[in-house]
C-alpha cells in the first residue's frame, strides 16, 4: 500500500515537473506552440492535486509520520504557494496569442512557483524537525 502511494505521489510530482519545464521554457522566451502549452496545463493541475492527496495519504499511512508534523505543514504551505503562482504563464501566453515575451511580472511569479516546488522537494527529502 505504502509503495503504491509513493509511486502515485512521485508520478504526480513528475506530472507537475512536466508542466513546470514547459512553462519555464515559455518564461525564458521559447515560442512554444499554444497547443503544447494548453496540453500541459492539465498536467500542472493533476500533478498539484495528486501530490497533495497521495502525500497526505502517505503521512497517514506511515506510522512514523503524522499529517500535523512540522515538515508536512511546511509542505502544505509551499504547495499552496506553488498552486497560487504556477499557472500564470499559460494564462498570460494564451492572452498574448502565443507570443513571447510574456509580461515580466508573470515571469517573476512563475519563478516563485519554481522555487516553491524545489523547496517542497527539499522538504520531502530532509524532513525538518522529524
Amino acid at each position: 500500500m505504502t509503495d503504491a502511494l509513493l509511486f502515485f505521489h512521485l508520478l504526480s510530482a513528475a506530472s507537475l515537473f512536466a508542466a513546470l519545464v514547459c512553462f519555464s521554457a515559455v518564461a525564458l522566451g521559447a515560442r512554444l506552440p499554444l497547443g503544447v502549452v494548453r496540453t500541459l496545463l492539465p498536467f500542472w493541475h493533476v500533478g498539484l492535486v495528486g501530490v497533495f492527496l497521495f502525500g497526505l495519504a502517505l503521512a497517514i499511512d506511515i506510522d512514523d509520520y503524522d499529517p500535523w508534523d512540522v515538515w508536512v505543514l511546511i509542505a502544505i504551505g509551499l504547495w499552496l504557494a506553488a498552486g497560487a503562482t504556477g499557472d500564470k504563464v499559460p494564462a498570460a501566453y494564451k492572452e498574448n496569442g502565443g507570443q513571447v515575451p510574456i509580461p515580466q511580472a508573470v515571469a517573476r511569479t512563475h519563478w516563485i512557483s519554481v522555487v516553491a516546488v524545489l523547496l517542497l522537494l527539499a522538504d520531502m527529502v530532509w524532513k525538518p524537525w522529524v
Binding site: T2, D3, A13, A18, L20, V21, C22, L32, I62, V125
Partner: protein
Amino acid sequence: MSVLAAIRPNEWELPLFIHVLGALALIGAVVLATAMLFTAWRDASTANLRLAVRTLTLGVIPAWVVLRGSAEWIADKEGWNDVDDPPDWIDIGYMAGDVGFLLILLSTLFGWLALRKARADGSPSGTVRAASILIAVLLVLNLVALWAMTTKPG
C-alpha cells in the same frame, strides 16, 4: 519503506535530493521534447523541430547527466556498488538509465538530421518520426524506472 526513511543517514539526503530532482527534471524535459517532436512531425514545422532539438540538448541531456551522476553517488553511499547480486530495482534503474541515454542520443541525432534537411529544403525528413518514437519509448522507460524506484521489486 517507512523504517528505511526514518533511519536514513543524513549524508544520503543531498545525493537523494539531486537524484530525485534529476529524475523529475528528466521526465519533465522528455514530456516537452515528446510533445514538440510529435508537433513537428504533424505540422512539418522547422521552428517546432528546432525547439524540440533544443529541448533535447539543453533539457533532456543535462537532466540525464544529473540523474545518472547522482545515481552513482547515492549507490556508492548506500553500498550497492559492493553488492554482487543487487536487487531487481537497482538493475531496472541502471538499465533504464543506460538504455535511456542511447535513446536520447539517437533521438537527438535523428532530430538534428531532420532539422538539417528542413533548413536545406524547407521540410523535415522522415527521421523526425524516428526521433518522436524513440523519445516516446524513453518516456515509457522512465515511468517504468519511477515505478521500480518507488515500489522496489526484488
